[in-house]
Symmetry: C2
Subunit: 572 residues, 2 copies
């Protein structure tokens, strides 16, 4: 189409309220318009991007025997009451009543609707396995939408649900879907998306993965091993700490440590490295405010997700009262009050000659040897993995911590929804059983925004060929020149007839103005037709990512463009 007719404004100034680049680019480039907090309208260029992403997703879901269906956006509360989520989910689930005072919700995910759709169909083992998916609008009443399309309230999502008669079958399908996700991101032009083991938290505790596009503005931290490729969300990454005991264990001695409350203060005062400290971190359970004390090596941080999962309870940082019997600032494993739960992190395994609190104001112990001085210690992993830490798979000190945006996730759900919603099937032997589910999501708008975030320069997005709004941006520089205009018109027609998607700029504006618009639209290929080029019998063909710029003879240009598109299109 002609750029002149493209609805939407483009401008140079970065909008004041944009924290991240993709948000600014989406506004400056005429991709989105803010309608309300976390709610946007999409202009044509972004709609074209999301349609292409959706089509790639659709093809890959169909290829693993997915059946596209459609669930409602508005659902009766009763459906969510069946699963228990009407009560358990917070205010991000938008609840309202219709004209007849029926309680309704806006769908933020569709596990309930999926079970509802197939509950009768899946009544015999012969029907399994199967997978259904949809690409549909969702609404999640986020407290703090941010970053343009990165975290919104209304969004388009592909959500898929698979049903199985055994855990093995689920795992097999889960792997197939994992591979399909890798293909989706590779085809969409972002093969650098990494899958990371993630924490499925209180969802049932089974396996799940997140697909992350690495970018410094990401909301998640990811541990990646540069040696073996292991990767996991920080929340889920196993922490491996190796200690070598000092040959001689000193005796435990109580020392006076006035005004030394923090590990750094104590270690500084005693002239010891923090690695030789046995640190205490104190939490309280939300339900009854009971205390939980976690001991770990002085240089290690608590991973609260692991702690939460271990306890099976929500926690918060403690407010230590006098009645607790806990001596804040001087907590240690020897002689600690029995009114609290005491836990030990793996990082304390095999340590001696440690300093720790003496559970007495202004006193610490030195010479702590956990094996010797504390009875019945069980060690568990409550630690955050560190940059430079040991990879839990290959054992090498090769962990780096990066930031990323979650663009997809896959879950082994187990029977959480089928059980609560009473979905059963008759097995081969006539036994009544509960099917096992998996679910698989991709946020379409967020993926588009993440690609923009990961692939842009100061002038605009650098869209991958497979999802670019148009493949070619054709500029007729000096369109007031009759030869330029006629040649460009002709080439526009030739490209269009050849099935190439072109946005054609034949406005009578300066080359600089044209190019800055082209940068904002971000098509991977640019063709410039100008009086100067025509004198040489050439068009200038260049890549948006500046990887090449060639002068191509006019008569060879169409073939060259088609060749370049095929080379650059990762979706073919």
């Amino acid at each position: 189409m002609k750029l002149e007719k493209l609805v939407g404004d483009r401008f140079k100034e970065r909008p004041a309220d944009c924290q991240i680049d993709s948000h600014a680019i989406m506004l400056k480039g005429g991709y989105i318009k803010h309608v309300a907090n976390g709610i946007y309208s999409l202009y044509t260029p972004l709609k074209r991007v999301t349609k292409k992403i959706e089509q790639i997703i659709r093809e890959e879901m169909d290829a693993i025997d997915g059946q596209e269906v459609m669930f409602p956006v508005v659902m009766p509360a009763s459906l969510w009451e069946e699963s228990g989520r009407y009560e358990s989910i917070g205010s991000e689930l938008l609840r309202f009543t219709d004209r007849n005072d029926n309680k309704m919700v806006l769908g933020m995910t569709h596990e309930e609707a999926a079970v509802h759709l197939v509950r009768e169909y899946g009544s015999s083992y012969t029907k399994y396995p199967f997978m259904i998916y949809q690409i549909q609008t969702k609404f999640r009443d986020e407290a703090r939408p941010r970053g343009g399309l990165i975290r919104v309230r209304e969004f388009t999502m592909k959500d898929a649900y698979s049903f199985h008669t055994s855990q093995e079958d689920l795992e097999q399908y889960y792997d197939k879907c994992h591979k399909a996700y890798e293909r989706i991101f590779a085809r969409a032009g972002v093969p650098e998306v990494v899958s990371v083991k993630s924490d499925s938290g209180m969802m049932g505790g089974s396996v799940s993965h997140e697909f992350m596009l690495l970018t410094p503005i990401g909301e998640d931290s990811i541990a990646i091993c540069s040696e073996c490729g292991y990767s996991a969300n920080m929340e889920a990454a196993d922490s491996i700490i190796e200690n070598v005991k000092d040959e001689i264990s000193a005796n435990m001695e109580k020392v006076h440590t006035p005004d030394s409350h923090t590990i750094e203060e104590v270690c500084g005062y005693l002239n010891m490295p923090v690695e030789k400290a046995c640190k205490a971190v104190v939490y309280q359970r939300n339900m009854d405010d009971s205390y939980v004390v976690v001991f770990l090596r002085g240089d290690i941080e608590v991973n609260e997700t692991k702690l939460r999962n271990f306890l099976g309870a929500e926690i918060h940082p403690a407010v230590i009262t006098e009645e607790s019997g806990i001596v804040a600032g001087f907590i240690g494993p020897v002689g600690i009050t029995d009114k609290c739960t005491v836990l030990f992190d793996n990082s304390l395994k095999n340590t001696n000659n440690m300093v720790c609190g003496a559970n007495e104001e202004d006193y610490h112990f030195t010479g702590l040897d956990l094996d010797r001085d504390v009875q019945n210690v069980e060690y568990h992993d409550f630690a955050k993995i560190k940059d430079g830490g040991i990879c839990p798979v290959c054992g090498k000190k090769a962990i780096t911590v990066s930031r990323g945006i979650e663009v997809g996730n896959i879950f082994q759900l187990g029977t959480k929804y089928t059980k609560t919603m009473g979905m059963t099937y008759l097995d081969k032997d006539g036994a009544v059983k509960t099917p096992i589910m998996g679910c698989y999501g991709i946020g379409v708008g967020r993926l588009a925004a993440s690609v923009c975030e990961a692939h842009h320069d100061e002038y605009g997005p650098i869209w991958p060929m497979a999802i670019a709004p148009w493949q070619v941006h054709l500029c007729a520089v000096r369109a007031d020149n009759a030869e330029v205009k006629a040649t460009a018109d002709k080439f526009y027609e030739d490209l269009t007839n050849a099935g190439v998607e072109v946005i054609y700029d034949d406005r009578k504006v300066s080359a600089g103005f044209m190019f800055s618009d082209a940068d904002l639209i971000g098509c991977p290929l640019r063709v410039v037709i100008s009086p100067r080029n025509l004198k040489e019998g050439c068009f200038e063909i260049s890549a948006r990512d500046k990887s090449f710029s060639i002068k191509c003879p006019v008569e060879e240009s169409l073939a060259k463009i088609r060749e370049l598109i095929a080379q650059m299109n990762t979706s073919l």
Copy 2:
């Protein structure tokens, strides 16, 4: 895909609560599942139908320079307050508050969102005309959803909005869109959809058309001229009545008509045809209960839409009190109380020797000559057009009244939204002007259901090739026969490789069971491979609409199928 793996149940019994056939078929055939009142999930076969319809719509909208965008489902109430519709629309507009107590609505149409999206863009005359459209979920909190997908609360709709600088330009574009709609319905396999002039009511009073698929279960009545093709919604159809005055006008005489309250009673009592009666129908304005008396010829009914538009006010049938001064059952134009609005329908033009009420209990007048006996009569059209009535275009008595389902509509909106929402542009001469809008809708799910309603038999739907869930239904009858199974598997593969969409039934079930499933799925072509056919070296190829059934040599079958698809596909 294989029918065995298709998610969704099919069954024979007609569900008890289905008033119309398409509703029953959609449930019996595994197309939809009821989630809540007027809210459905779609299974794969219907999702495939709607995707094809959407793609046809998209291509035709793009062909008339439409730009696909996406508006939000959830919108802030403030946007609807700008246009005034937050107040003026009833409870079909679903209103709720989000977690921060902001007032929100669910989009039932997107005029406001469209103006919001382009309000800044369209600030100069040079940007016009342009059209934007979306295909998106909508929610309308209908009081009485009915008929499966015919009248629902949640639905997918294509809604388009065009913007113009002159009425002429709008009209030109409106005509283009009218033609695009004709192409859409023709391509979708329902060329019989008729466009009818419709009433745009209080929307602004300009031109609008509805596109109707004629079926006896339709909610709308349509007047169609069998001579000239004129068609209009009953609400909008001009009523033409021709009267020839009797040569001699008798004098007016008051006659005693005891116990004769209705026109039929009076005319019977006086032995006159009802066409010689001047009938009164009484309404009250909703806002102040003031009375409106409409006089019209005894055989003619009031078209309340026309009356409402004329008055610019909502009305309801009157409750006649004593204080009104109106003598119920004996109302006439001579001597009627001046406390009410008195209106005359065109059907009384040129009449004499009429009977009418005398505004006195138990008395009528005969010999009424309106020209002579009533002063300052203005005639307007308040009448319903009748079966056998006069066509307002060609003047022939060739009107037939049919019923239809509205599957699309187009409106010349004028400046209703742009004016209230403060959208302006600078014209050539620097003057600030308000753009003129058109809007254009098609209900995707309703169109699918309407096609099913108009094209089905007692066994199931007869989908047009262009929108059928699959083009070919392949049945391996006696799949336990090795030759049948191998041949059918091979042909399934051949068809699939040739790009033909096939649903393949290789279940070990009876031919009758297979065929009744095939009828419910409604693919336009059926291929049967059976031991009997194979003996003759043939496949049986038949049409779902029973228009043909041929035995085709195995080796010619693929070519034949491709030929038939091309012939039958109105979308190519």
